[in-house]
Structures are given as C-alpha cells and as structure tokens.
Symmetry: C2
Subunit: 322 residues, 2 copies
C-alpha cells in the first residue's frame, strides 16, 4: 500500500498543511523567503502532520485546531533537521544541498531558531495551553536526546536501555506529541487519548529502529546520504550494538570508536559485520514488535477509516526502503 | 543609582526568579545539569525579568503569572546568547568560557534549542495564549534580526534605517515582549499596555546603541570580550556607520569590510577614527533620545514605585559602562 492510499482519509487536510507551509515561506525579506522555501519545501513523508490529522479523526475533527498543529509539527521537524545537518556538517538531505552547505552553519543555526519559534506560534493557534506545553516539552526531549547522543559519541559501552531512552527522546517524543495532541484537540476521552499517545510512542520507536537499519543498508541515492553515516559520526545504534554484543572481543566497531588502527578499514569491516552477521534480522524483528504494539494500542478505538490508516501506516513504516 | 536600588520594589520577585533558574538547572542527567548551571548561572543584569515584574506592578500584580514569564524571558535571553556565541565562535562571555568553548559548537546548538523550548514552556505557565503567541513572535524577530545581520555582514553600504530595523528585531523585540507581557498579565488597560510596550521598544533601542558604543570603548576585562568585536565580525553598527558617512572617500572601515590592505591595520585605524572623531557623542545622544522617549511613555501611568524604577532604569542603562 502506498502512503497516498494510507493518507486517503486526511488527504484534504494534508494539502491544506502543504498550502500553509508554502504561505509560511513567502514572508519577510527575499533572503528569508529563500531560506524558508528551501527548508520547508524539501518534501518528505509528512508522517507527523498525518499522525495529527488521523489521530484527530476519531471524535470531534476540528480543522481550525488540527491544521495549525499538523503544520506546527512539520515545521518543528524541519527545524530539528536544519540544526542536525548543521551539527553533522552534512552536505546533503533528501539528495538536496543542506542549508548549512549553501548558506553556512551560522545561518542554519538562526534559521532553525526561527523555525522552532514559528512552530510554537502555529501550535499556539490550536488554542490549547495543554498542547502548547506538550509541544515545548517535546522540543526539550528532542534536544536532550540529541545532547545525550553527542555526549555518548564514540563510546562503545552503551546498553540497549540507553539506546531506547535516546531514540524515545529524539524521535518518539515527536510522534507521541503528534498523536496525543491530535487526540486532545479533537476532545477524545482520556482512555482514547492514552491509546493514541501509546500508539505514537511505539510507532516512533519502530520508525527510528528502521532508520538506524537503513543507515547500514539503504541505497545511497535513495537515502540522499552515505551508508554508515551513524558509525562514522560515532553514533552507536542498535545494529552496531548487537554486533558488539555478539563479538565482545576483537571488534571493528570498538576499534573504530577507540581510534585504533585504520579508520576506513575499520568502518568497512564494521559495515560488513553488521550486514553479514544476521543482526539486522533481529533489529527488524524489534521494529516489527514495536509496530505490532502500536497497532494493538488502537484496538478499542472506533472503527473509522483513520483507524485502518494508522494500522497500515505502522506496517508501511517498518517495511519502507527509504 | 545602582541596579539593586532600582530593582528594590521587585526584589522579592527577582530572587524568586533566581531560585527558579537554579531549580531549572538541577534536572536531568549530570551532563545536562552541568550545561544548564553553566549557562543559566552566569549572572548578568537580569534587565528583562525586572522589566516583566516592574511592568506588571501597575495593576493586578499576579506572581503566579508574572514570575514564570520573567523566568521565561531570562531563559530565552540565555538561549540566544548561547547560540550567538556558537555562531561567532566566541571564547568568552561575561569573562567566563562559553558553552561552545568548553563543550563544542554542536552541544551549544542543542543546549540553545533546549533552552528555547524551556523558555516557551515557562511562558505557557503564565496561562495566557496571547502572551504565548507574543513570545513565539519575539523569538522569530530575534532570529530574523540576527539573520539580517549575518546577510549584511561586511557590507559597508547600509542605511541608518536598516540599522534601526535590525536592532529593533534583535534586541528591542525582547524588551518589548517583557514590558507588554508584564502589562497583559497584570490586566492593564489597553492604553497602559501600549505605553509600557512603547517604553520597552525605546528602552531596547537605547540599550543596543549603548552596547554598540561599548563594543568600541568598553574595558576588555569588564566587558569580557575584545574591543572592536563587531567590526572584526563584519557587523556595521551606528558608530562605524557614522564614520562612513563623515568620511565617504578613503575609509578604513570600508577597506576592512572589502578586505583591501592589511586587516589589523585597517581595524586599528577604524577604531581610532570611531573613538577620535566625535561620532560617539552623536551615538550617545541618539541613545539618550530613545531613553528620554521611553521615560516619556510612562507619563500617564499611575505614580507607584515601579514607575520611578522604570524611569531610573532607562537612565541607568544609557549611563552604564559595561
């Protein structure tokens, strides 16, 4: 099933989100409009706005509140990508030059700040202080998750619990924000809000595990970034972590992180070990487990088209190739 | 008059802000707490929180709303300093090593994001969606002002209007936010809110002009940064702008910005020209004019101690030496 088919029941809402994103990038002096169009117009799967709209479909679907929130979360996601790319000095994102590559890291930092605040302003349009607060807390989580990743860079001694906490903070916090705020803004009963919130969490974890797998096996052209980026940057993700568990003694991942021996050769051997040792199947199984938990969270929600969409989305995201 | 004396009527509130700032830096894992304590505990004049509390004193002084907002704006100010220092690769701030110097620019970017979101969360505690929206718009202004500065770096052809627009965006937007939100949260009548908002704007412009003067004449030890930083970074401020107007032909500022001749020699000559040509007196006069306008904005407000404090603060800030 394609994303277009999955998004069918909120297609109208999603195109209004696209239109709003376009309007947002037509403000200010030409240099600002150009930066905004470059970053907001870069496309992507628009998973987070779809999650807001789908989660907001079960009770009182209220476009005046849900559309600003759906737009807000995509702008927030864009802001985090702009800062991530500046931090990693990445030249490419979705096969296009990054803001830091074209305009420099100073402007990427400032554009990210502008987008973070633009996102908050949009979130405030949803007219719900509880949601505004969740929004701010989610940004704090993402930043804390990314900081945790930076502080643990090139450290081969990390536990699965630390990995889970990190991806919960940096990725699942936004998918949880999307589904929980969609529920709140449609005045869902508390039990349904909790169910959608848990769906968002489990989906986010599954999504990030797949992202971490694709970093090892994804097609460079399709991914728009080189294979093995995480390891190169010293980020220990589940696949490399499992390789360290299986081969505790001599291990190219440990040598790479400790700077022992030839860097390129260690990276090549590490990639070979990750892709050839069967750990990826274990990672896929973990992602499928989280995806299944996400689907199970939906069990007692009303049977409406959005429920099938969320179910299909959970399956789609663990089967994706980019 | 000292700042302590000026802040007298809101002393209790300001110490609660300090206590809250301390609490905020005692959260999370040790590496996060250390970053927060380093950035939030760096001191400073606390002008912005004082502006919130003083502006909130004229009608219904409501600590439950004003204190979170006062704390929020100081956290926001800190976030912008952390990002500014990362952008400028500054080693020192208030004579202490910067976050980017100690922990690296990647962590400074992420800490700034965390603080921006922490500020938004605090602002939402004031329980007023209008204020939340003003808060987000002010951050957008600051980012746009800083971006404008980055895009006009090393450009000697800038007008006074452009300078004014830039400092309004990057500095006066926060002082305006402080006074306007203080007024709104204390349920001030609209005319009083407008008066306090205008006070905040004029004070912010005066404040930034003085900052730009001090960059040329401030004591390096007291300022905690080298003299002439702005020119070195290609930022054209009022003093250098006036020098360009007075000496339109051969001019070391223009040569410095165009990269003609010896950089150090041009910088030395430019500093000499700024300090020796009387332009600084003109800049001081401009700052005093804005300060006087700020004081005039207070005219019809009730005669309470906070009114004298705001009056004295406007005078203090244009007479300060650091």
């Amino acid at each position: 099933m394609s994303l277009d088919t999955i998004y069918e029941s909120v297609r109208e809402g999603l195109s209004q989100v696209e239109a709003r994103l376009k309007t947002l990038s037509e403000v200010g002096p030409p240099w600002l409009a150009e930066l905004l169009a470059h970053s907001l117009g870069a496309g992507g799967k628009r998973v987070r706005p779809a999650l807001v709209l789908l989660s907001g479909s079960f009770y009182h679907y209220d476009p005046a509140r849900l559309l600003p929130m759906a737009t807000a979360i995509e702008v927030l996601h864009t802001a985090t990508l702009v800062h991530d790319d500046a931090i990693d000095h990445s030249p490419l994102r979705r096969s296009r030059p990054t803001v830091n590559k074209v305009w420099g890291e100073d402007k990427a930092i400032l554009l990210g700040d502008y987008l973070l605040a633009q996102a908050e302003e949009l979130a405030s349009e949803a007219q719900d202080l509880r949601v505004v607060r969740l929004f701010a807390r989610a940004i704090m989580s993402v930043a804390q998750g990314e900081l945790g990743q930076a502080f643990s860079a090139f450290n081969p001694e990390q536990t699965r619990e630390q990995y889970l906490a990190r991806i919960a903070a940096k990725t699942a916090s936004l998918t949880t924000l999307a589904t929980e705020s969609g529920a709140i803004l449609s005045r869902a009963p508390q039990a349904a809000t909790n169910a959608l919130k848990d769906y968002g969490y489990n989906l986010g974890i599954a999504f990030q595990i797949i992202d971490d797998i694709l970093d090892f096996i994804g097609d460079e052209a399709e991914m728009g970034k080189p294979t093995g980026s995480d390891l190169s940057e010293g980020t220990l993700t589940l696949p490399a972590m499992l390789v360290l568990e299986r081969y505790p003694d001599d291990n190219p991942v440990r040598r790479l992180f400790r700077g022992e021996g030839d860097r390129r050769e260690n990276l090549r051997l590490a990639l070979e070990l990750v892709t050839g040792s069967g750990v990826l199947e274990e990672c896929y199984q973990a992602a499928r487990d989280y995806s299944a938990r996400a689907v199970a969270n939906l069990e007692f929600l009303p049977d409406i088209p959005a429920k099938s969409s969320l179910t299909e989305l959970a399956r789609y995201l663990v089967a994706r190739r980019k």
